[in-house]
């Protein structure tokens, strides 16, 4: 099942070497522990740059969007096996 969404989420992160590492995210009152950060890329949205984190736990793929100007995280894509 592959879904596109745009839900504000809470993400617990750490910073290291000027980089952001998401660890846990809370979506729909549920916590998901992020196992792997597979790919990080950015894209222009008008004049600003936003960042996309393609992450996963063992059952789900999540694409998270970070707007660095307002430090807001959103879940924009979800894929679950089967």
């Amino acid at each position: 099942m592959h879904e596109l969404l745009n839900d504000p989420i809470d993400v617990l992160v750490s910073f290291k070497d000027n980089r952001v590492f998401p660890h846990t995210m809370r979506w729909n009152q549920k916590d998901y522990k992020i196992k792997d950060v597979n790919l990080v890329h950015s894209a222009r949205e008008g004049s600003k740059r936003v960042f996309f984190f393609s992450v996963s736990d063992s059952n789900n793929y999540f694409k998270l969007k970070l707007d660095p100007e307002v430090l807001e995280w959103r879940l924009v894509e979800l894929y679950t096996d089967g």
């Binding site: 592959h2 596109l4 894209a43 789900n60 894929y79």
Partner: protein, 427 residues
């Protein structure tokens, strides 16, 4: 003089990027489709159609697993699903791919300044001076592979070929997929050529192969032995190229230019700007076709103005529901980069031959590019439009495309997509 050229070609590029991003897709047959899904609003959930039913898109890239099961690039999603029912269809994400493309070209630039981004997933590197010999060139290739792994991800793999010119380097890289490294020194080029089919060589298509076959030429060895003057009388200047190519020779140099590249990445100066669009539904409606064409013309014009180009030739094309198509071009003396002018010319072409048959795709491209802006128009109205265009463009730069649209376009909505033939999201 022989050079040392490295050709690097990403394997099943778009599909590999998706498999890098999403571990649940690894090891599975996936097909990247042309159209990108819509964007969800806050709180909305849109289910992406992964089974291809009702989808009229084509496969732009098949993963290695899908290729093994018979799925090919440019196959319709419908046909691909028939061949491979377990195929997962995944909408392309052009922004992601172009950023990764930028990323690997930057890595290449750390090894040599002579980098030519040949396509979205292929580049040529001239390492003649940096390497000095083939042993060092191989070492450079291995260092590049290690950096690709670290900075793009281990699932984004590349085939690498090293040779004395672009043609041979590319033929070498294509001999081992995925993840190959094939070295062809000048003394090995004939052996490489003789192990391949005529149309394996970049520059020999199926039609040329057929014509060569009719002349009794089936192999590169036979092509080498074919008299040069007969080749030239059959193919003109292309005959000379064929003769040279059969000897493993190619005088093409690396075309690196950073000035007009894709967002700062080095590419050759564009030869044309084009956009095409597959309509969401086939239409008989002239007005709808007209609106899409105007939208496409505006996008092409905007890209030309951004890069400071104007065009003297417009090619417009239309494809009908039965897949028949029509393309025609017009050339004019005064270069233009005004979308409305481009549209007018394109519509002259398309409007003339379109009698209400169902239309599937429209497109246009602008070529014969020049840096010289067109002379100031004598007509007041045109002058006004010319002075307003730069202002509109600065809006577009700041807020992304889609900020301004002409009044007549308001109802026309373009879906973002990555097409295998026109990597055209860079509006």
């Amino acid at each position: 003089m022989d050079k040392i050229i490295i050709h690097i070609d990403m394997n099943s590029y778009f599909a590999s990027v998706e498999q890098q991003a999403n571990p649940l897709l690894r090891g599975k047959p996936i097909g990247i489709t042309g159209k990108h899904g819509s964007i969800a609003m806050s709180g909305q959930r849109i289910k992406v159609n992964t089974d291809g039913v009702h989808d009229r898109s084509v496969i732009t890239t098949a993963s290695m697993e899908a290729k093994l099961l018979g799925v090919k690039t440019a196959m319709s999603t419908w046909e691909a699903r028939k061949i491979c029912p377990s195929l997962i269809l995944w909408p392309g994400d052009p922004h992601k791919y172009s950023e990764i493309t930028e990323r690997f070209n930057k890595i290449y630039n750390d090894f040599t300044t002579k980098v030519e981004a040949f396509s979205v997933d292929e580049s040529f590197l001239d390492v003649t001076e940096e390497a000095g010999d083939y042993f060092t060139a191989t070492f450079i290739a291995q260092m590049i592979r290690a950096r690709l792994r670290a900075e793009c991800g281990e699932h984004i793999t590349a085939s690498i070929g090293i040779g004395p010119n672009k043609l041979m380097a590319k033929l070498a890289s294509e001999s081992m997929k995925p993840n190959g490294l094939t070295v062809t020194r000048p003394e090995d080029t004939l052996k490489l050529l003789d192990s391949r089919e005529l149309d394996d060589l970049c520059g020999i298509g199926p039609r040329i192969k057929q014509r060569l076959n009719m002349l009794g030429v089936e192999t590169f060895k036979q092509l080498r032995e074919f008299p040069l003057d007969s080749l030239e009388s059959e193919f003109n200047r292309y005959g000379t190229w064929l003769h040279e190519a059969a000897h493993g020779r190619d005088s093409n140099v690396i075309q690196s230019s950073t000035v007009h590249g894709l967002r700062g990445m080095s590419t050759e100066t564009p030869k044309s700007y084009g956009h095409s669009y597959t309509l969401p539904r086939n239409t008989h409606d002239k007005l709808i076709v007209k609106r899409y064409l105007l939208g496409l013309a505006d996008k092409v014009a905007w890209r030309m103005r951004r890069d400071n180009f104007a065009a003297c030739r417009i090619t417009a094309f239309i494809r009908y529901g039965d897949f028949s198509s029509h393309a025609e071009q017009r050339t004019f003396y005064i270069p233009t980069n005004d979308g409305h002018k481009l549209f007018q010319v394109a519509w002259q072409i398309i409007g003339n031959c379109f009698a209400g048959e169902p239309v599937r795709l429209v497109g246009l491209s602008a070529s014969k590019l020049t840096h010289k802006p067109g002379q100031q128009s004598l007509f007041k109205k045109e002058q006004k439009i010319q002075s307003v265009l730069p202002a509109l463009d600065s809006l577009q730069h700041r807020y992304g495309t889609g900020v301004w649209t002409r009044g007549s376009l308001v109802k026309t909505h373009f879906k973002q997509r990555s097409s295998g033939f026109h990597f055209d999201h860079l509006v």
